[in-house]
Amino acid sequence: MEDRFDDVGEEQERHLQRLQRMAMLGTLAAGLGHDLRNLIMPVLLRLDVLSESKDLPETARADLAGIRVSVAHLQRLAGGLRLLASDPFEQRDEVQITRLAEWWTEVMPLVVDALSPETKVTADFAASLPPVAMPPGTLAQVVVNLVMNARKAMEGTESPALAITSAYVEGIVCVEVTDNGAGMDAETRRRCFEPYFTTRPREYATGLGLSTCRALMQRFGGDVAVSTNSEPGATFSLTLPVHPSAHRDPERAWQPRLVHVSLRDPRQRALVRLMLSQRGMKEWKPGAGAAPPSHVICDAETIDDTLSQHRLEPATAVVRVIAVGTPTARSSPEDVVWIEPTRFSMLADVLQ
């Protein structure tokens, strides 16, 4: 009996050590991403200076262009490290929306670098896909995890190939990651999402990969499953919930919610525009045939003009009106949400 307790204790100790090692790698990745940014920016600035030289031979200009391409690739890798280093279970301050086509351009270098050079990688993320309600970093961590498993499975495959496809299906977006590797037997398929289950030597695998992937996906209302009908190789299917900011118009493509921003302070305008883009919303622009905004964000000075522009009586307004400042006697209808400038970040909660 004592031996069994010793075994369990030793196993738990090893799991703890592996988890600590993973946490350390996350910290290392974050530090590396930071240092790379600090090193790459001066290189880019110096390349700008060199490119401006009048007496530079054509061959040197071509060399400079080649260096710039390599450095840009390095910079994208640094951006990908940022995604991988974020704590997947602590994403409250992170963007909660991912536009897959844009996301893929950032994650692609990481995926390609995670595979052997001879692997053929294809991916299809249509720009018309609706945004999904998941932080980009979390999705990157899940997909890179699947890709690293695929690399292992394709060792020994003559023409390794990885295909990532995506499709919108009734309220969700489905992303499939398919490799042409050794595949999985029935037992592995059945147990692969169990914590600590692994087919690799413990020294090289934590066994936490797929179970963590599933926990992450489910945390954001999605899931991951393994398909049984891909031979040879394996297909993992991710289901991602569509972000609530996207609403379906049967006649047109996905339309984001529109927000009329009427703020005088340029700093507040810049911050609101960032908040809108992080929530899949767009700034409303006047024009013939323009759809009405769902929100109006104004201040004490602009509220009257802005509301009259939309011919809105605040008491009957269908749009949500948010004003930054202190309510004035002239412009303080009851259904306007007022936000003190010193508590501007509260706007993020009101915009949800």
Partner: protein, 135 residues
């Protein structure tokens, strides 16, 4: 928007390679006036008050126990005519709203292409607020 005829920039950053390269790059910009650097970060607020640059690029990770967010708040209070751009290799969402809420005119990640950094400096010098994060 009309940019000032000659705009001046101060860079508060301990990365000497970056500061040197930025000085060289800005020297090529039409309308650029003068570049200032800070060596003693504990006296950075005094240096800004003395030079009164149009734009201050403020790294968020300063050595010597200097809290850059506190320094930002002091600069906004003391020298509001010098517009601060927070310049960081740790571009986090929370930091953007915190520093812009304190009165920064810009938030720029060090992970963007160099032309977007130069555009950001120009726009802030011209009175526009800018947030430039990695794509």
């Amino acid at each position: 928007m009309v940019a000032p005829s000659l705009f001046t920039v101060m860079c508060i950053d301990d990365n000497v390679m970056l500061v040197d390269a930025l000085e060289r790059r800005l020297a090529l910009e039409p309308g650029f006036g003068r570049f200032y650097r800070v060596d003693a970060f504990v006296n950075a607020a005094d240096a800004v008050a003395e030079a009164q640059p149009d734009v201050v690029l403020l790294d968020i990770d300063l050595p010597g126990g200097v809290d850059a967010v506190e320094l930002l708040a002091e600069l906004v209070q003391r020298t509001p005519q010098s517009r601060v751009i927070v310049f960081t290799g740790h571009p986090q969402g929370e930091l953007v709203s915190r520093t812009m809420g304190l009165g920064a005119w810009g938030f720029v990640s060090k992970g963007i292409p160099s032309d977007r950094l130069i555009d950001a400096i120009r726009h802030v010098a011209g009175g526009e607020a800018v947030i430039e994060l990695e794509d």
